[in-house]
């Protein structure tokens, strides 16, 4: 089985979010970038397939050279090779289109991604990629088995889960549950050393088509201080929730 794992290069969860250039650009100053957490769940599942069932795992990122350490980390975790599509990932459609070109050229059976990136939170790339390649698609996947050509995938639904069957090829957008957080891997020294020698291919983008552009960013208005209520005065809390906040 040939597996492609799509990797987004995102600011670490704890990063301070600030903007520059008149609030038009994300301020990367002092920010550490990591593998998008949702992609990390999917990458770990890909490693499981590789080790238990036999598969090759390629990781791909659409982005500029700053994303290469993140791809190297995925290689250190155990992916066999990496591809970087050299373009600025300004829009989900553009990313999906570039990934579709990689998928079409590579003959992959299973494409794994995360359900969304934690920076732009669009949640659109896996679905668009599936449509552009005419692959089947399961979003928000919390369980995945592949037996030969047959796929059994479980997705989260409101108030429960749904198990779906499909055949390969398929695009899976994973999240926590496809593997548990405790199963996520930290690269060891041997993996890091080996990753340096693994192939990282840079390919040029096929187009610059984007359907959306970000005009500016803004941060939420500063929040007022918390109103503390005495633990012996629950009536006051109910009064505030009813009359001031109007939520009960």
């Amino acid at each position: 089985m040939k597996i492609l794992v799509c990797i987004s290069h995102v600011p670490d969860t704890t990063s301070k979010i600030n903007f520059t250039d008149n609030d038009t650009k994300f301020d990367t100053n002092g920010v550490q970038f990591v593998i998008n957490p949702y992609d990390e769940f999917s990458l770990t599942r890909a490693m499981w397939f590789k080790e238990k069932q036999g598969a090759t795992v390629t990781v791909v990122n659409v982005g500029n050279a700053t994303a290469e350490p993140t791809l190297r980390k995925a290689l250190a975790i155990g992916a066999d090779d990496a591809i970087r599509v050299n373009t600025e990932p300004t829009d989900g459609f553009l990313v999906a289109k570039e990934l579709a070109a990689v998928v079409k050229n590579g003959g992959y059976d299973l494409v794994l991604a995360g359900r969304e990136s934690i920076d732009y939170n669009g949640g659109m790339v896996p679905g668009m990629l599936a449509s552009l390649t005419d692959f089947n698609f399961v979003n928000g996947c919390v369980g995945l088995e592949v037996d030969g050509e047959n796929v059994s995938a479980t997705r989260e639904i409101d108030g429960g889960s749904e198990t779906l069957s499909s055949s390969l090829p398929i695009v899976i957008a994973g999240q926590k549950g496809i593997v548990e957080e405790s199963d996520l891997r930290i690269p060891n020294m041997r993996g890091i050393m080996m990753a340096r020698k693994k192939p990282l291919q840079v390919v040029e983008a096929t187009s610059t088509d984007a359907n959306t552009t970000i005009q500016s960013f803004e941060k939420p208005a500063p929040k007022g201080a918390v109103k503390l209520v005495d633990a012996d005065n629950i009536d006051e809390l109910i009064n505030l929730l009813h009359n001031e906040a109007k939520v009960i």
Binding site: A96, G127, A153, G160, S161, T212, S216
Partner: protein, 318 residues
């Protein structure tokens, strides 16, 4: 030219988000000098949508669409958009909305913005405000394609009555076959789900053990709320993973979020930032959650929660 809204339903009844997206569609139509067409699939009574501004409702009745299937539903939405010459398509940003919208976007060659929190700030260029950086910021995004798709974030625009005398007509689209087949659906019945809930009662390690969740469930029951938990609690197996709220768990956009015995790690806050009013009950006055909360009680959950239940019962009865 029209604004097409997909009004989603369950067992024939419209979800609250359906009324919100119709309200949103009406606002966009006013801005564009256009009209609102609502698309429904297997809904029983569509007249409710007129109350929120749908001038025309197109109804699809088909047994093959009884359960949600992203590709099939997307083909219906796309065909309806073409039939109605829609320039804007509005859907919700629920789990299913986020599943189908990207497929519709490719089919219509349309720009798509998900998790949109406000009516367009401009229609030329067409600019919407959406959540970014896990609720720590917003991006003002310009959609430049002829057809635009907007995924409205829950509880962001609100439900607004705007009665019109609408009409309905049947629509019989060609439904795309899907290569993905539903085999089994498992749902927790009889409980309010986190996605539907206007109020969420959530608890963390401060509860000391799963045997103490009875009072959390009772508080949720009194408020008609859903129950949720922090990540350590689901990792410890005290509560099911489906209740884990946070960055890698479920996002919550409720009107009221009550956090009990949760310190407020940044990953947890990223999942609940979109909630309107936050109440924190914690013994530790230095807990970071107090900085994110609107109201707080510094106190022991085992003393505060039973009193809160008692007082809320009295309040509801009055």
């Amino acid at each position: 030219m029209s604004v097409l809204v997909f009004a989603d339903s369950t067992d024939g009844k419209f979800k609250k988000t359906a009324l919100e997206v119709v309200s949103y569609g009406k606002k966009v139509a006013e801005q564009l000098g256009s009209n609102v067409v609502a698309l429904t699939i297997n809904a029983a009574d569509v007249s409710e949508l007129y109350k929120y501004g749908a001038e025309k409702v197109i109804t699809v009745s088909n047994d093959s669409l009884k359960t949600f299937n992203a590709k099939s539903y997307a083909s219906v939405v796309s065909e309806a958009a073409k039939a109605e010459n829609a320039t804007v398509v509005v859907v919700d940003s629920s789990i299913d909305g986020l599943y189908l919208a990207p497929i519709v976007a490719v089919s219509l060659d349309a720009g798509y913005a998900s998790n949109v929190v406000a009516a367009p700030s401009s229609t030329a260029p067409f600019t919407v405000k959406r959540k970014a950086f896990s609720n720590k910021a917003f991006s003002n995004t310009v959609i430049s394609t002829d057809v635009k798709i907007i995924g409205v974030a829950k509880n962001s625009f609100g439900v607004h009555e705007n009665e019109v005398s609408g009409t309905s007509e049947e629509f019989s689209p060609t439904i795309a076959a899907s290569g993905v087949k539903s085999e089994k659906v498992e749902k927790v019945t009889g409980q309010v789900t986190i996605a539907d809930a206007d109020i969420v009662v959530s608890a963390g390690r401060g509860l000391k053990g799963p045997e103490n969740w009875g009072m959390i469930e009772e508080l949720a029951d009194v408020l008609g709320a859903a129950t949720a938990c922090s990540k350590p609690v689901s990792d410890l197996g005290w509560r099911p993973h489906g209740e884990h709220v946070g960055q890698t768990g479920k996002p919550v956009a409720s009107n009221l979020y009550i956090a009990i015995g949760i310190s407020g790690a940044i990953q947890h806050l990223a999942g609940i930032n979109a909630s309107k009013v936050k109440v924190v009950i914690n013994t530790d006055p230095e807990a970071p959650f107090f900085k994110a909360a609107d109201y707080g009680i510094v106190g022991d959950a085992f003393e505060v929660v039973p009193k809160l239940i008692e007082k809320l019962k009295a309040f509801k009865a009055s």
